[in-house]
Symmetry: C2
DNA sequence: ATTATATATGCAGATATCGGCATATGCGGG
DNA sequence: CCCGCATATGCCGATATCTGCATATATAAT
């Protein structure tokens, strides 16, 4: 039986409020993509490091003791959601975070957690 | 061969800076748990709705056209990370977000995305 | 006590994600 | 041109996540 057959506790006013204020799915999906940046330890470590200083793949790998392949994979993901950008200098590719806001959002989280 | 055998481009000063400013893994894992709240469309929809108004499971289910079981599962996850709390009134269990900050973090994301 | 409603939980299939190996590609040096 | 270093990519196994069904539990009404 469908839920729509059941008596809704939800009062019309509240329902309207939710219809009005709920971001459309398009926005919510954008948020999901964005916050997914921070939903994996490897990724958040990389972002965190890049927030402090630009680095090349090999340095990230060495610094965080991660397999080079793993770093490349995660950098590709981070790049695909626009969290980082890269510039090539000869053989070496340097990565930086695209926006100061990335760090601010992380600090919000730190604050929320009360560290 | 280990990365530590390779020549580090990383300059000592930068390395020290990263060692100093990188949050410890404990904190990073906390952040991962926290931001994972928003890393799934179903969860973010539920949180988003609860941000606007307290609701019971059945209303969330009806409102967002989600299977009741799915809602319960996600509410359990959200509760386990402290994002929501519940109060029972007879047969009905009402859920609310635990903190205004949850919404602020989401708004940060919205802002970042430029909506 | 029985029944109905609201919610929670165990389980399993479908799917997604992560990480590493093997390998490809890009690039500079000799 | 060939080799070596830096990085990227395809593939796949391991693992995690999500969802829904079946069912359990909680509570109220009769």
């Amino acid at each position: 039986m469908s839920n729509t057959n059941k008596v809704m506790l939800l009062d019309k006013r509240i329902q309207n409020k939710i219809d009005e204020y709920m971001p459309p799915d398009e926005v919510l999906e954008g948020l999901v993509n964005f916050f997914s940046i921070f939903s994996d330890v490897t990724r958040i470590r990389i972002v965190s490091a890049l927030t402090i200083s630009e680095m090349c793949v090999n340095d990230i790998s060495a610094m965080l003791r991660l397999n080079q392949t793993t770093v490349s994979h995660q950098l590709r993901i981070l790049k695909s959601v626009g969290a980082v950008k890269s510039k090539r200098q000869g053989k070496i590719v340097f990565y930086t975070v695209t926006s100061e806001q990335i760090n601010e959002v992380m600090l919000n989280g730190v604050e929320y957690l009360g560290y």
